[in-house]
């Protein structure tokens, strides 16, 4: 994880800008929902909607669009900078090696590292890391706002969230272990394939083709089994997680609906709750997958960390 901190520290400006934009986007979203709640309540009671309220709502929509655009721009900028640093860090590592060390490097192994670990870290940075961070910011902000708006409804509709959190931690651990095993098996298989070029003369001289062929087949079977196990576990755990994630919305409709019928909650507030439930339960629904990919990312990051020392040295 220290490598991730170093990468973020090196690109502190885009990272901070992204966090600020994400907080701003979340606040704009809450502001828009506040406007929407008022408009719905006014329509529901047959009250005239003043022009300034309409203008304010339109402004909120414009701000919301602008903040979404700024958010994707900031995250893409930060991602690209960090991905570039990662690739350059790997390249710098080779540039700092001595001739003897370079001679002893297995080209296949390094290529495999580039194709697997680094490209997976790269992929996570570009598709998951900042979405994950944005989800967390939205979750905290929205949950706090809903809690302030109606503590009872917020807590009741999100009780299953606690179960989901526990389940998320459990599934991500199981998926991560399976992912680690399949990665190890993949690394072994690639390392094996990479070493074939080096062992070829000895293999030919000592007539060891059958031995190597059997060993490679065994590595291939181990990798295949590990991947199948990982995918099977992921499918079972994730599908159950998806099913469980519907319960907060169902509870929201049930409890919120009863409150509206009893007159203790306005229709506008219930609409805002439903509208924003994605920020809470939606984030939770994606959490097992996100945490599992984060753990996978952490494993990959740990594997490439020794190769990044030259590229990510702290300057005092």
């Amino acid at each position: 994880m220290s490598l991730l901190i170093k990468m973020m520290y090196k690109r502190i400006l885009p990272v901070v800008l992204f966090i600020c934009t994400s907080i701003f986007a979340m606040l704009v979203s809450l502001w828009w929902n506040w406007q929407l709640r008022d408009i719905i309540n006014k329509i529901n009671t047959g009250t005239h909607i003043p022009t300034d309220v309409i203008i304010m709502a339109a402004t909120a929509i414009l701000f919301s669009m602008a903040s979404a655009y700024a958010l994707s721009l900031c995250s893409a900028w930060a991602c690209e900078c960090m991905a570039h640093d990662l690739r350059m860090g790997f390249a710098k590592h080779f540039a700092t090696l001595s001739l003897t060390e370079i001679e002893n490097i297995s080209a296949g192994e390094q290529l495999s590292k580039l194709q697997n670990e680094i490209s997976e870290v790269n992929g996570f940075l570009q598709t998951n890391l900042f979405t994950f961070a944005d989800d967390i910011i939205r979750f905290i902000g929205t949950f706090s706002w809903l809690l302030w708006l109606d503590p009872k409804l917020t807590l009741v509709s999100n009780i299953p969230t606690a179960v989901l959190v526990w389940y998320t931690v459990y599934t991500s651990r199981v998926i991560s272990e399976a992912a680690q095993q399949s990665q190890q098996a993949n690394g072994q298989m690639n390392g094996f394939a990479g070493s074939l070029i080096a062992v070829f003369p000895v293999m030919k001289l000592f007539d060891a083709v059958q031995l190597i062929s059997d060993k490679y087949d065994a590595a291939l079977v181990r990798w295949e089994r590990a991947v199948v196990t990982e995918e099977r576990r992921r499918a079972v755990l994730m599908s159950l997680s998806g099913l469980m994630s519907c319960s907060p919305l169902l509870l929201l409709l049930l409890v919120g609906g009863i409150e509206v019928i009893r007159g203790t909650l306005s229709v506008g507030s219930l609409y805002a709750f439903i509208n924003l439930s994605g920020n809470v339960s939606g984030a939770m629904m994606n959490m097992p997958g996100r945490i599992a990919s984060f753990r996978r990312f952490a494993v990959n990051l740990k594997r490439v960390e020794p190769f990044m020392a030259a590229g990510f040295a702290f300057r005092k």
Partner: protein, 212 residues
């Protein structure tokens, strides 16, 4: 039987590295070839090992002329020892059926017994990808044990003693002594002093062999 090389020429594309090489090594003789890096020593050794097909001239090793037959009579130890991603035992046997006695004799001659018995998995210990889980000296001694277990009449050493140091070095030298005793040996090196045991030493320069 020994080794007979006559008018051997070998080129990588248009670059001629060996020109009209002729060499006769008697059975049981230990000869050395010295030369600077890139002069063609390893190419000559690979031709003697049957790893390369001759382009012109004759290479006869222990009565065999075809590469696949030559390889049966030869064992080779290199400076950058390459181990298979397998156990110590499999690295010695190369997957061929071999009695436990032969394997352990090879280990003993290669000064490996003490180290192997100290390992939790003993002779079945996995050496890692490209021998990553064993030290350079241990890897070289495993390669020597492999060559001993092969029991080939001709031994080829490619810079086998060039990167030795301290205690590991003496163990490898003792192992090499066991390997080469009573066999036909061709040892190549870029350093003259590592060929002290040789009865004859040649210098490979400009693709030609010169007796020293």
């Amino acid at each position: 039987m020994g080794i007979r090389v006559e008018n051997l020429r070998y080129a990588y594309g248009s670059k001629l590295v060996l020109r009209d090489i002729s060499l006769f090594v008697n059975a049981g003789e230990y000869i050395g070839i010295v030369g600077v890096s890139g002069c063609g020593k390893s190419t000559l050794l690979k031709l003697l090992a049957g790893l390369y097909q001759t382009q012109s001239g004759v290479v006869e090793v222990h009565g065999a002329c075809r590469p696949e037959e030559i390889r049966k009579n030869v064992a080779m130890v290199m400076q950058n020892t390459v181990l298979f991603p397998a156990s110590i035992k499999e690295n010695i046997t190369c997957g061929h059926p071999m009695s436990e006695e032969v394997i352990w004799q090879a280990c003993k001659a290669a000064q490996l017994t003490e180290w192997i018995t100290s390992l939790a998995d003993g002779i079945d210990t996995f050496v890692g990808e490209q021998g990553g889980k064993v030290s350079g000296g241990q890897a070289q001694r495993i390669a020597i044990a492999r060559a001993i277990a092969r029991n080939a009449p001709v031994i080829l050493l490619d810079e086998a003693t060039s990167a030795l140091d301290g205690d590991t070095g003496s163990a490898v030298l003792a192992a090499l002594d066991s390997l080469t005793r009573g066999r036909t040996v061709v040892s190549v090196s870029h350093r003259h002093e590592t060929l002290a045991n040789c009865s004859r030493i040649y210098k490979l320069e400009d693709g030609r062999l010169h007796s020293l």
